[in-house]
């Protein structure tokens, strides 16, 4: 039973356009959300996070939006660059439960020049 779902296994975008990666969760106890980026043959690296007291967090070209009522978050990359091509994992944690994150299955983003 997946508590964190990334329903799009892959996404293809043109360079310079916006990339939108989506993530849905089912556990209403989750209150902290993270995005990780993973290049081939490397470990995942932390990208950006958001707590449930916010609905938006921005860091340069990366913005994460949180819609608590819909249990949905999205990662926006603007503008997309070929170097953004990677697998993106969504993860969620609960401050009231285990500190260990639950990961989605990942979305492979390809940005075409």
């Amino acid at each position: 039973d997946q508590q964190v779902k990334q329903n799009s296994p892959s996404l293809s975008v043109q360079e310079g356009r916006i990339s939108i990666l989506n993530c849905d969760y089912t556990n209403s106890m989750f209150d902290y959300f993270l995005w990780y980026k993973k290049y081939p043959a490397e470990g995942p690296t932390f990208l950006i996070s958001i707590s449930s007291i916010k609905d938006k967090n921005e860091d340069g070209r990366f913005t994460v939006f949180l819609n608590k009522s819909a249990k949905h978050l999205s990662l926006h990359i603007v503008p997309s660059q070929p170097g953004d091509s990677a697998v993106y994992f969504c993860a969620a944690k609960s401050s009231g439960g285990s500190y260990i994150p639950t990961f989605g299955r990942g979305t492979s983003l390809i940005v075409h020049p």
């Binding site: 043959a41 995942p44 500190y99 990961f103 299955r105």
Partner: protein, 114 residues
């Protein structure tokens, strides 16, 4: 970059043989984790440690054991490797157990069980 190394980086072994993967950190972080990554499954937690000699099971712990005798080292052992354990294994660390912190991952170990 967080100081995390994994060894070996690649290993090919045969079914039924024991295998030990090592994770070494230089960050003095309290928490350490072992994940496996498989196509279509994302990152799945195998075991984790919340201190020296303190470990617990994750969602896919069957067939795996761990040990942590020092803060800096976390070992993952496959007592008798099976082909279903062919995967990429990642170690991760974090300095706090609370919600508002991220994990740092090692470079991974690609294990092939023939």
């Amino acid at each position: 970059d967080a100081g995390i190394t994994q060894s070996p980086r690649h290993k090919v072994t045969e079914t039924g043989t024991p295998v030990t993967l090592r994770c070494h950190q230089t960050e003095n972080h309290r928490y350490m984790y072992w994940y496996r990554q498989d196509p279509g499954h994302g990152l799945r937690l195998i075991h984790y440690s919340y201190g020296v000699k303190d470990t617990d099971k994750g969602e896919v712990s069957d067939g795996y054991s761990v040990s942590r005798s020092k803060t800096e080292d976390f070992l993952l052992t496959l007592e008798s490797a099976t082909s279903s354990q062919t995967s990429v294994y990642f170690c991760a660390i974090s300095d706090k157990g609370g919600s508002y912190n991220e994990q740092f991952f090692g470079p991974g170990t690609r294990l092939t069980v023939l």
